[in-house]
Amino acid sequence: MGLENIIAEALPEVLTTRLDSLINWARKSSLWPATFGLACCAIEMMNATSSRNDLARFGAEVFRASPRQADVMIVSGRVSRKMAPVLRRIYDQMPEPKWVISMGACATSGGVFDNYAIVQGVDKIVPVDVYIPGCPPRPEMLVHAVMMLQEKVMKDSARDRRDVPEEEAREAVPPGTLPVTDGSSALKEALEQSRPYTIASRHERRRSS
């Protein structure tokens, strides 16, 4: 491409930089999304990788069907209560570093589905890094969200993004939904007795403290 000539002339042979900057630069340049298409937003998500919008320009076009190979979970669509534990399990299966984009009004806040069946915002289940408004958002907005996430990745520190140690992960409770009750004393007892649903990932705990 001729780029090598320019770089070779413009830059010295040895560069000094922070390790975090180098790692973050590498990470942000190949964000692999996990496919989590839940509703109509997923159609726009597919379109974002098409030739017209070409998410590949930002290194984020390789949608992986396995969470173990993914960095970003794009929650595109409304999350039902039945799907919520599944979503959390897939998030837990993603290795660090991992980020979440909440795509569209439904994933962000429940949208028009203000009812018993839909979780009112995916941030009740997983920590969200970027929210996208819209119903559905245009593919350009998803591309913009990926670019915003890249900016955020550049501010990260690799120390915050270590995986949860194995022995802690073993204690995690298998996902299940909390029972829907009328708020009686039995509920309070159940809440006191219940173990944490799942252990918070390292950067989640850092964020809350």
């Binding site: 039945k82 534990p85 009812n115 018993y116 979780v119 829907v180 009328d182 708020g183 649903y197």
Partner: protein, 177 residues
Amino acid sequence: MASEPENNEPNPIPSSEAAAPSPLVAALQREHAEWVTDVIEAFGEITVVVPREHIVAACSFLKAAPDTRFDFLADICGADRGVEEEPRFEVNYHLFSTTKHHRLRLKVLLDEEDTHVATVTGVWRTANWHERETFDLFGVIFDGHPDLRRILLPEDWQGHALRKDFPLRGYEPYSLK
């Protein structure tokens, strides 16, 4: 005098008393008079209200009899007529015959205190999931059902979501923590 021409015009929606009963209803009544407590004909559709204890026998007859041949159970659905209504719940069986191409709807009415009805999985196996759905959303218990579990709502759900007294947003906001 003015009302006479109106009476002579054919009524598009005949009432059940005035018009001759449909051959399907007549077949049911001929077989067992107690099976038919009420007949509702509207919009070209026939609905027969069947007593709860006779629903399996009536379904078996309708499936097997040569002039009805309802070999296809199109749907079972529940309905909640309202908290103040008595009987409150109904279960509707939508039947179709793939050879005769006619349809019939059977309706069973249930009290709120006693939402039991016998299963028709022995007649049509497809009733299995339809009855699970009706149980899941309305709390109608199908006696003799081989596997009466929830099918749509999460397994640990409490309550039945399509009942009229179920709050639209559920009992509490969802949270995993």
